[in-house]
Symmetry: C2
Subunit: 405 residues, 2 copies
């Protein structure tokens, strides 16, 4: 079983968010300096849905789904027709191009489910797949699972504020060289940067020119900070023919516990995704599907307030990081991730991450999950209690000083 052994060795999850319990917890071997720092534990590996609660009415809709009973428990694999109808209208309005509810939309168990299905429906063994560095770690892992070949494309997010910093000439070189599928997140996970209109336009043109299928994960596109502009690839006149857009209410709307996501776009790919979902997980949880009725239907002002609160946390943490000597960080334009590059430390990244947890009760995700070139960075999901997050980053700053090279 060497080949499967090798494949699953590469699919490591021990450093993935939430998996800390499965790590090596033998702290005796950690090269510790000084005492532990007291404070409220903060798990920045994912958002805190106790600090930012699920959309009002979510549970009531679930409960209504249970009352509907069998009809809601056993929907089509692609999801309940009526719910798709409502959602298609909202998603069409939000992204600026119509979505045909019966042909172009599928409901999935989380946006992770959508990403897996979209990639498995378009990528064969040996295919070349362009993946941005840094980007969401599952992109690369699905490529590995599918025995496809990853073609990395750098995003120089620290080089300016006008653009995300995607290396377009590298992207074109990859496309020229036979890339079949391009997968990227916008806003980018882990940096929170938004691709500029020029970049999205260039992606559309290159995809059309080279016949590349594009999968864009727009999970955080609703949580947009003041004065930021977002370009929806699918709404461009020159949008790629084979394009799947992924969204979901797990993050900004804190509905992760209900496991809901959506994918929409090319009818042919959506059809394949449904066939695949039939053997992967059947469908998004039937009763949970009802919760999607709260999506894009939040109470007036609710989303604005949620954005305001996140922006306030972003600004405070950004300020703290900016005051640490040697930290490089770009201000996120959307979403709730910060991706500081730390100064040189006396420790390996992995050790520092473990020490942070052990001495400061602070959990972050190592940058190596997102790019082999980001081993000096860490990701923080700052959708947390505001004060606890500030205190946690203060402790982090103290430990950076303590372990600085």
């Amino acid at each position: 079983m060497t080949s499967l052994d090798e494949k699953f060795r590469k699919l490591g999850t021990d450093n993935a968010p939430g998996q800390e319990v499965r790590q090596n917890n033998n702290n005796a071997e950690l090269p510790l300096t000084g005492e532990s720092l007291p404070g409220i534990a903060v798990d920045f590996s994912h958002g805190d849905v106790d600090a930012f609660e699920p959309t009002p009415g979510a549970f009531e809709h679930f409960s209504e789904g249970v009352n509907i009973g069998g009809k809601r428990a056993y929907t089509e694999y692609r999801g309940d027709g009526k719910i798709r109808e409502t959602l298609a209208a909202s998603l069409g309005a939000f992204t600026g191009a119509p979505v045909a509810s019966q042909r172009q939309l599928i409901l999935t168990p989380g946006s992770q489910g959508a990403l897996f299905l979209a990639m498995a429906a378009t990528i064969s063994a040996g295919d070349k797949v362009a993946i941005v560095q840094p980007d969401y770690f599952a992109n690369r892992k699905v490529v590995e699972f599918l025995d496809a070949e990853m073609v990395p494309v750098q995003m120089n997010y620290l080089s300016g504020e006008q653009h995300a910093g995607l290396d377009l000439s590298q992207l074109e070189a990859g496309f020229k060289n036979g890339v079949k599928v391009f997968v990227f997140s916008n806003p980018n996970n882990p940096t929170g940067v938004i691709y500029s209109a020029e970049e999205i336009d260039a992606i559309a043109q290159l995809a059309a020119r080279y016949g590349v299928t594009v999968i864009v994960d727009q999970l955080y596109s609703r949580l947009l900070y003041s004065n930021e502009r977002y370009t929806h690839l699918r709404a461009l006149p020159g949008a790629p023919e084979n394009l799947i857009t992924i969204m979901g209410p797990s993050k900004t709307e804190s509905l992760s516990g209900y496991r809901l996501g959506v994918a929409f776009g090319s009818e042919k790919i959506i059809n394949r995704m449904e066939k695949l979902q039939a053997i992967v997980s059947l469908r998004a949880g039937g009763y949970s599907q009802s919760v999607l009725q709260t999506w894009f239907a939040e109470p007036a002002g609710w989303m604005e307030e949620r954005i305001r609160q996140h922006q306030a946390i972003r600004d405070d943490l950004l300020n703290l990081f900016s005051n640490i000597d040697g930290v490089a960080i770009r201000r996120p334009q959307a979403g709730s991730y910060l991706f500081p590059r730390l100064p040189a430390l006396r420790l390996k990244e992995e050790e520092f991450v473990r020490i942070l947890r052990h001495q400061a009760q602070v959990i972050v995700t190592p940058g190596s999950e997102f790019s082999p070139h980001a081993t000096q960075s860490v990701r923080l999901n700052f959708s947390q209690d505001h004060q606890a997050a500030v205190k946690a980053v203060e402790r982090m700053a103290e430990l950076i000083e303590r372990y600085r090279k």
Copy 2:
């Protein structure tokens, strides 16, 4: 994209349970004889969770999960540790061999999720996989998705009542010839037969002799009729080293709307399944996991009553089918499926299935989904309102007469 096109063509789901809405609904072209038969519509493609309601307390546990909040929304990928602890004890007691909660158990979105992960964690492209005919249609489809090679093994379920009828010499020939993984359901879906102790023992011995990994789907093993005996492969002294057992509360317990399943067994395979789940769907819905606390903890007498009610429906429908000239049927020993082989008709199976729906408001699943040799059979999930099911099969009998060759 020929190769993916071809793969997804074979992964058809239009005839799968619940997908009828996506079929060709142009009934004008159907070769109809006579008038429609009035009556309450019955969808035998899956159980009716309105007729047989979810386990008492299921919703309350879900609701408790929502109240727990973030800790329950974001569990380990393999599921909440405490819930796994309780479940491991129940599953160990039920199957007759201990389950280590931290190392040998994973919670999945439905037992479909467990099946996909178990197969994808053990099967490489080109591997030979033994699949029983007839058996659950997804077994074959996952083999196709993984680009593996299916080695069919016949189950002659109509040849007697002592054994399921698995062709053991065909199984051994397959194993000798390089089969790497053997996947089967017990009780068998679609026939409801149970493998005898001798058959399970033979499977264990053959798997050990040839080093074959075994995945056994025991989804219906709790719904056992009077005087039936069930042999758990994993409890045998000679159980295969690489063995995964799959169960879930979607059927007998009617919890399908919560999307819950479990897989337990070989630590190495469970580890791989978790890595894969991290990129396929992250985890079983967090709040839903709480509902597993009702599993194997039903009120006293509840399961016995549920079995009694299903047995009564089974006996009535079996009696109706036995009285139709030319029908061959075996009495199911467990679960809620009937798999009658119909007499020769003037129509193709596919047409008769559509006519049943059109003229009698009766939905059944074509036998071709389960085996290429079962095109004269149809599957009925009789977990339905008792009287409505009886009337539906009476209408079916009338149409069989009408379209008989």
